[in-house]
């Protein structure tokens, strides 16, 4: 089979929603890198849809595809479908399905259309939501999906997923232990006498009260298992490595790749990665200057693009519709800052952010940051563009732009205003966790960022 045929088949299967994640990434790369492939894809999709529409239009009642001979009746299976035995089986099966349905309705009030948004579950609540913002999805252990969440809601075990870079969620267990996720993260939690959590990806902080003897809190990431007796710590999990910063007490970390274990005391961190040293290192001193390093995969939200001859490495924005504003389509990216292998970054008054990147056309580039206190606790979110001191970003010949945001112009992100009493009022002196950049042009703006630089006032 030649390349075009292979591509055609891949594209055809994509149109039927049959690709695996690996194949999806392959098709995305192909389309991104090859104009001929993009054209081939659009033409094939157009032809396939015209053909499909014609066939579907005529499928019933007078089928354009039915031949005089009755194509489907040639096989043995289809003869079976018309036998008296098949009729008897069909009637029996339908009766059983109908009886089961009726029984379910009488016993539980269950109606099929309500399955997606069940608000009650059979299990007992194990934790209460104490803070949240942004797009979040909770999936309970019974499979129920809940998008409508609010502070005070009690949850059974399940999975909480932050769907956007500005998502944040805080949960308090019955014993007072608090855990929080931020950004695009996924955390599964359960408490059946022992708390068990699985951080599939993203950033997670915890303040854990002393746990029962022999039943430490277990936190699993893709590469580690962490045992917690009672402490305050942060975890960032990526597929390749896990970073654990311990602020108080100590935690025990087991690296799943080689089975090695280590105790991490207060004010120490371990970066667990394949082949890496598992020795705890002191938490590095904070710095005030920071520059993104996008020449290696950054994590966060967006598509990382390695450097080419024509442009440096970049984080490319992806489309996103905010849950609370479904009429808006943003192009958004985020970049994590503190919590990685580098030192924590502290914001100083009058510091400046410089964002350099590319856009298809001139557009307003919006900019936001998430910050935390020194103990790792979430401190708030701020926006650098709401005072509108930042002009529309004009683009140069190479479609490049630079946008500058003064920290003194930052205001509280509207998403966290309701919770403002318990959060910081300014970002000065706080730790920079992550930042996000977006456009709101209603279509793909081609936004990508090559570099973000935080420059303290004394360097300027």
């Amino acid at each position: 089979m030649n390349t075009n045929q292979t591509r055609d088949e891949l594209f055809e299967r994509h149109l039927q929603g049959e690709l695996s994640d690996v194949e999806k990434e392959h098709v995305a790369e192909l389309l991104d890198s090859d104009a001929a492939a993009r054209q081939q894809f659009v033409e094939l999709a157009q032809w396939d849809t015209e053909l499909g529409e014609t066939i579907r239009e005529h499928a019933e009642p007078k089928d354009i595809l039915q031949s005089g001979k009755g194509t489907l009746e040639r096989g043995g299976k289809n003869r079976f479908l018309h036998s008296p035995f098949a009729t008897l089986v069909t009637v029996t099966v339908l009766f059983i399905i109908f009886s089961s349905f009726l029984y379910l309705q009488i016993r539980t009030g269950f109606a099929p259309e309500e399955k997606i948004v069940l608000s009650q579950t059979a299990s007992s609540p194990i934790a209460t939501i104490t803070g949240l913002k942004g797009s979040l999805l909770w999936t309970g252990n019974q499979g129920e999906l809940v998008l409508d969440m609010h502070v005070g809601r009690q949850l059974t075990g399940g999975t909480i997923e932050g769907l956007a870079p500005d998502s944040w969620f805080e949960l308090q267990f019955q014993d007072g232990s608090i855990v929080a996720i931020s950004g695009t993260s996924m955390l599964t939690f359960a408490d059946v006498g022992q708390k068990k959590l699985r951080l599939k990806q993203g950033a997670f902080t915890a303040d854990v009260v002393p746990q029962p003897v022999g039943k430490p809190m277990i936190v699993q990431t893709p590469s580690t298992v962490i045992e917690v007796v009672g402490t305050r710590f942060e975890v960032e999990a990526l597929q390749a490595f896990t970073t654990v910063n311990v602020r108080e007490g100590n935690v025990r970390l087991k690296h799943l790749v080689d089975g090695n274990s280590v105790n991490i005391p207060a004010d120490y961190r371990v970066i667990a990665e394949a082949g890496g040293d598992l020795s705890p290192m002191p938490l590095p001193a904070a710095e005030n200057y920071w520059k993104s390093q996008l020449d290696v995969q950054a994590g966060g939200f967006g598509k990382w693009l390695p450097a080419t001859k024509k442009r440096p490495a970049a984080q490319k924005a992806l489309p996103l519709i905010p849950v609370n504003n479904p009429n808006v389509s943003l192009s958004l990216l985020s970049i994590p800052v503190s919590g990685r292998s580098g030192p924590p970054v502290v914001l100083t008054p009058h510091a400046t952010f410089r964002v350099r990147g590319r856009l298809h056309d001139a557009a307003q580039v919006h900019f936001g940051i998430a910050v935390s206190y020194g103990n790792g606790e979430f401190a708030g979110m701020f926006r650098g563009d709401l005072l509108k001191k930042q002009p529309v970003s004009e683009i140069a010949e190479e479609k490049e732009f630079e946008a500058v945001y003064q920290l003194s112009d930052f205001t509280v992100d509207p998403c966290v205003r309701k919770k403002q009493d318990s959060l910081a009022r300014t970002p000065d002196g706080l730790y920079l966790d992550r930042l996000w950049v977006f456009t709101d042009t209603g279509r793909s703006s081609g936004l990508m960022v090559h570099e973000v630089e935080l420059v303290p006032a004394e360097i300027k």
């Binding site: 088949e9 049959e18 690709l19 999806k24 849809t49 053909l51 579907r56 354009i64 992806l318 519709i321």
Partner: protein
């Protein structure tokens, strides 16, 4: 407004490329065309009606993904973005007459293919079955289904193109 509704197949193609499902794509386009009717006064004359309608379909597609809890993994987001860019760059708005001729040609050519080819197409497009299910239904191996589908579509495409060439 007529021009907007004339883009239906193009919009369906776009929605299908993002949703991977014919029926869901038809629903999304239907919803989008209602929005198009309500917001038509916001369309700027002189700009591309197809691009404008596509931006509305895009919102409906994202809503549908959320409604059906469709996979929004990173791989899916990357793919959606790449597909979006491809349509921005290469999708063209066919004239009504051209679309009608193509549809007539497809109908004509569908009558010329084999019974087995027709059965495979019906299972694929009307019933939206995968290769394995089609194979089970028609008593074929997965490889035979794959080949039959590819060969039938290719034959149809050649037939349609040559018929359109003759007509013009």
């Amino acid at each position: 407004m007529h021009a907007a509704f004339g883009c239906r197949t193009e919009l369906l193609t776009y929605a299908r490329s993002l949703l991977g499902n014919f029926a869901a794509a038809e629903d999304a386009v239907q919803e989008a065309l209602i929005v198009v009717m309500n917001k038509y006064d916001q369309f700027e004359e002189g700009t591309s009606i197809l691009a404008w309608c596509r931006s509305i379909v895009r919102l409906e597609v994202l809503r549908a993904k959320r409604r059906y809890q469709q996979d929004m993994s990173l791989a899916q987001r990357l793919l959606d973005d790449a597909v979006d860019a491809a349509f921005d760059e290469f999708q063209i708005d066919r004239k009504h007459d051209e679309s009608t001729s193509r549809r007539d040609a497809i109908r004509h050519c569908l009558k010329k293919i084999t019974d087995r080819g027709r059965a495979v197409l019906k299972s694929r497009f009307t019933d939206e079955l995968g290769y394995t299910q089609i194979g089970d239904q028609l008593g074929m191996t997965v490889e035979a289904v794959r080949k039959a589908l590819f060969r039938t579509k290719k034959q149809l495409h050649s037939c349609v193109e040559s018929r359109l060439r003759v007509a013009s």
